[in-house]
């Protein structure tokens, strides 16, 4: 998402181009509002049903509902927490602490009314749009602990995580914190969403340990059509994620949508050919995973790069995430069940760094952050953003997991795992054909 400073500049630029068109800050623009209402719907669509189907198809049929339920419960719980206190921690002024965390003035969204405006859209729309990001980020982590985490522990863990990890990182990048000030470019969530979720996922996979039987037992995805369907929904919904992060229906939103499409397509093709070369056949699970990798990688770059940059970022994402989700995972031996780290963590890192390259005007981009002059500086800034997110997220996630684990345990017991979480945790079965 553009930082607010950028937003003003862009809008002024936009005004210059559109004489006679009342597109000023703090005046509601119905076109921008229409697009942001739509974008909000699109990003929610990414999680339910998109991501939840993408994930649900990959687990064994005895766990299909547990994954769907985790994503759905996260959606509901994060919405409530966001309303009560996470929004204000993320996006209001934190006073002295502002580089690190926001303040408390909008607890329970108090102070935000029908007529509150943020930029050119109602503040309520901004709040809900951002809420959908705070929903999907923890939902992405599900991919790492699927098929073995206790549902109750997951709720507690993620409540702490959204407060202690997401809110500050979000504030750093978009809410007026240090990361934005340092010129780290993160248009739609490369660090805030994907690196954050990917690293948290990796820590979860390591702390929870492998699923019983992994990797010797066969655990083929139980219903790949669900996964392909979910991937298609993610792709479509991601237009709201990236082009919506412009917070307006303008040229930057248009370019963000274009580069999203191009990078995603390129990554899908790249993954497909990698698999074809390495394993002799291209697969449906492969190509859709490649597309998701492309979506992830273009996310931080989407408002800053042009078509050429998006082809390059897409290709890089497809190839590197392919290696991450196949060779790296297998050689390291952790059980990141559905590749939350392999796709989102790695894709987020690749995309965040490459944003520093392809934002360059000469490469068709919009140019570097204000105050940054060379590609080297921008890449440094990007790396700093990534590194800070990795370190803070990894440490904090680890501590939270350990505490929750000590108090209530993290994993279901062996028998429950064998029986499947659907029956053992939820008393229901996915299919009764």
């Amino acid at each position: 998402m553009k930082t607010l400073k950028n937003s003003v500049l862009l809008t002024l630029a936009g005004l210059a181009l559109t004489p006679g068109y009342a597109h000023a800050e703090n005046v509601l623009n119905s076109g921008d509002t229409a697009w942001m209402l739509t974008s909000t719907a699109l990003v929610l669509f990414m999680t339910i049903p998109g991501l939840s189907l993408f994930y649900a198809g990959m687990v064994r049929s005895k766990n299909v509902l547990s994954v769907l339920m985790q994503c759905f419960a996260i959606t509901a719980l994060m919405s409530v927490l966001w309303t009560i206190f996470v929004y204000t921690l993320s996006f209001t002024d934190g006073g002295e602490l502002n580089p690190w965390i926001g303040g408390l003035e909008n607890l329970f969204l108090l102070g935000i009314g029908v007529d509150s405006i943020k930029g050119t859209i109602p503040t309520t729309v901004f709040v809900i749009f951002q809420m959908t990001f705070a929903i999907i980020t923890p939902a992405l982590i599900v991919g790492a602990f699927a098929e073995r985490m206790k549902f109750s522990s997951m709720l507690v863990f993620l409540t702490l995580w959204i407060t202690i990890v997401y809110a500050p990182v979000c504030h750093w990048a978009w809410g007026g914190g240090w990361m934005g000030a340092k010129g780290v470019l993160d248009f739609a969530g490369g660090t805030v969403v994907h690196v954050n979720a990917g690293i948290a996922g990796l820590v979860c996979a390591l702390v929870l340990g492998k699923r019983k039987g992994y990797p010797t037992m066969h655990m083929p995805p139980h219903n790949l059509p669900l996964t392909v369907m979910g991937a298609g929904m993610l792709w479509v919904g991601w237009f709201g994620f990236n082009a919506g992060s412009e917070l307006a229906a303008d040229g930057t939103a248009g370019m963000a949508m274009a580069v999203t499409q191009i990078a995603t397509a390129t990554a899908a093709i790249a993954w497909m050919f990698m698999e074809w070369m390495r394993h002799g056949k291209p697969s449906a699970l492969g190509i859709v995973t490649g597309a998701v990798a492309g979506l992830v990688a273009i996310t931080p770059a989407s408002g800053y790069v042009g078509p050429i940059g998006s082809l390059a970022i897409g290709a890089a994402a497809g190839i590197i995430c392919f290696l991450g989700a196949t060779s790296l995972k297998r050689s390291m031996g952790y059980d990141d069940s559905l590749d939350a780290f392999g796709v989102h963590g790695i894709g987020g890192i690749v995309g965040s760094i490459l944003t520093g390259v392809f934002a360059a005007k000469e490469l068709g981009g919009k140019g570097f952050a204000s105050g940054i002059e060379t590609m080297g500086q921008q890449i440094m800034a990007q790396s700093l953003g990534v590194a800070a997110t990795i370190v803070y997220c990894a440490v904090a996630t680890f501590i939270i997991l350990k505490i929750v684990g000590a108090i209530m345990g993290l994993r279901v017991d062996e028998e429950q795992e064998t029986m499947g979480l659907d029956i053992s945790l939820h008393d229901e079965r996915g299919y009764s054909m």
């Binding site: 990797p215 066969h218 655990m219 083929p220 995805p221 394993h279 056949k281 697969s283 699970l285 492969g286 995973t289 989700a325 196949t326 060779s327 995972k329 297998r330 590749d339």
Partner: protein
Amino acid sequence: MKWVIAIIKPFKQDDVREALMAVGVTGMTVSEVRGFGRQKGHTELYRGAEYQVDFLPKIKVEVAVNDAVLDQVIEAIRTSGATGKIGDGKLFVLNIEHAVRLRTGESGPGVL
């Protein structure tokens, strides 16, 4: 009365059913099973995780027949179920000691 169990290739199901009907069989029961044998399976690959799948989809045909027609039935299944390629399947004959038709309660050969 004999209980004939035949494991066949799925796409042969209709041929076998017709061959059985041709020799006067009026009832049978089939189910989906997975078979392991000489016919080699296939590989599946999901994000780099390779599975060797040795079990292949097969159809199990079970048919109770009177002793008099047993040979005809065996021959019918054999000719209709074979393609000449590995994996065509097998046929086993077991003895039935007693048979009952639920609807009428009658028992013995008339049941079929």
